[in-house]
Symmetry: C3
Subunit: 248 residues, 3 copies
């Protein structure tokens, strides 16, 4: 049996559902974790919710893998909608169900068969030359602004200085330089990659309460966002770059 605040559970579900509608969730002795890739193979998420963020965590020594239908969980959080309430989650292994209650409502949930859900991807180990620390709110606002103008954003990191974001409309151009915070690592030569704003919009929205995040990037390489929305809750997003073709 596990207990966690509605607010924390909603944060966990929100970070995953920005990328995929379903995932394989591992309920392990040390907490919950998942990794998932979207159907287009463009975006990945990795999320590790430690036991310490639960109010109670009485699980056995075995790992259990369940298929998580994010929409169902979000519906359930719409019903149990008080952020301060404590939600009790109990696996009814014999029945193959999960019993979830906030004391007001009782929800009996049948998880997806994990085998019907796409396998966890292996997060590629990338050595990216730039690792810029940024305020999550600042990048979220910038991505929202760039989306007004175009559908792609170029991330450019110069030798010394901030992270520049650029978007092109049919006739216009928008530029925003994000403030690099202490501890940023800049590349030896300028690097630049192009990304779809669709993915970035959902991700930066899900990350926006995460304080300082690290944006790692390279030249025509994926961008990785490392962030910690709650203390000890380590998350990463990875987005593949757009291949620039003639006419793009």
């Amino acid at each position: 049996m596990m207990k966690i605040s509605q607010e924390k559970l909603a944060t966990f579900c929100g970070i995953i559902s920005a990328i995929v509608p379903e995932c394989r969730l591992t309920i392990a002795p040390e907490g919950w974790n998942t990794q998932a890739v979207d159907t287009a193979n463009v975006a990945m998420v990795s999320a590790n919710l430690p036991k310490s963020l639960f109010e109670e965590y009485n699980e056995g020594e075995d790992k259990v893998e369940v298929g998580m239908d994010l929409q169902k969980w979000k519906n359930m959080l719409t019903v149990m909608n008080d952020p301060k309430s404590i939600i009790e989650i109990e696996q009814q292994k014999s029945a193959g169900k999960i019993r979830i209650t906030d004391g007001r409502y009782t929800y009996l949930h049948t998880p997806l068969d994990a085998n019907t859900v796409r396998k966890r991807p292996t997060m590629p180990l990338l050595t990216l030359p730039a690792a810029v620390k940024i305020e999550a709110k600042e990048i979220q606002e910038a991505i929202k602004a760039l989306s007004v103008i175009g559908d792609k954003a170029r991330f450019t990191c110069s030798i010394k200085g901030g992270l520049a974001l650029d978007a092109d409309g049919d006739t216009d151009h928008l530029n925003k330089v994000l403030t690099a915070l202490d501890g940023s690592k800049f590349p030896d030569e300028a690097v630049s990659s192009l990304f779809s704003l669709d993915y970035l919009r959902d991700m930066t929205k899900a990350m926006k309460e995460s304080g300082t995040i690290t944006v790692s990037s390279g030249h025509n390489h994926p961008v990785r966002f490392d962030f910690e929305p709650l203390e000890g809750f380590e998350c990463s997003y990875l987005v593949a770059p757009r291949i620039e073709q003639e006419g793009d």
Copy 2:
């Protein structure tokens, strides 16, 4: 000539329009009243707005029946939208019109010919074994929550205890036990009926400011809601149960 606050008139119209788009309104010496049934014969409303809730009520000894187009009245209340304003309503019997004004706007309304509106139903006299008193806000929130999961709700009243509401999704189940307040009457054996959430959602929304309401139910029988949204303004809703068929 009659005068009533915008707020009270809006409450009256809202309770009826949750069930029907038009009704036969009786303007009687003792106040306004109507009864109406929806086109599918599933839901009924009965509303009695007493003379005491009007600021002035100078009507003759005759009853007048007019066809009330609720959408027109609601449009008019959108125009005269200050809840504290006093609305003056005057029948211009010779012209077959009603003159309505809040002092800022003047609205000349042609009521529907009452004969073109469906006849008043006779509210069936039902002896229902359970009569549970509930907070209107609590049932409204519960019905909204159940609607996230499914499209039907089962009402179950046990021998002693609250009123349980249950909804099924395709794989999930949601349960909520409403708190029975003092003065509730419980049945000798558990009773249970199934209802469409569509009807209940509109009704509980219209009732939600009514404080304590009485929910009377039986076994595979209609449910009746008795409520008093304003002092002396007695209202009832009645909903027919869903007939459970194989496959439901």
Copy 3:
């Protein structure tokens, strides 16, 4: 180079875009001005934003005419969305572009070729017998209210008294008398004209923060609104009357 607050620039764009999606903007030594007519030739706008409303205004002695795509400017103001921020606008004449920045975002805009935009109309010099001074907010609320009932409004100005607005629904009628303020000029005999509410709704919404406005009208003649949304920023709207045909 010119500097102006976001708020003032947004007011300027909002007043024009209530009538047309694009216009010919003249950037002159004394400020910005434009006149435009909508594609149906029903509504006109004239707007003169004086140099005094800019924080800085370092333009040469030459007039420049640029094609203004209002949607692009409004998108840009969605990006640079702090009303208190100062927006710097610089013409890059050699490149045919305009560089716009609020210090956070930099927007490189390619204006429309002015020759592709419909020519400025000549605002007709009309001698209208009535010129009623009205609170902008009052007429905006009245037009919104009339729109609930119908799609046309009759403006009637009597010999002495306010300006009456009337709308007909299929069976109902709404009347509102606007309060004429000091300095109003009334006609020698009652005058009345009919207008489409579509146009009036957008116009009165754009004018609503303009304090007292002057509504000039005649008999089956256009109506003209003269207003000053910011000190010294003189604007007019003109709307052609609906020709009443049998069956209207």
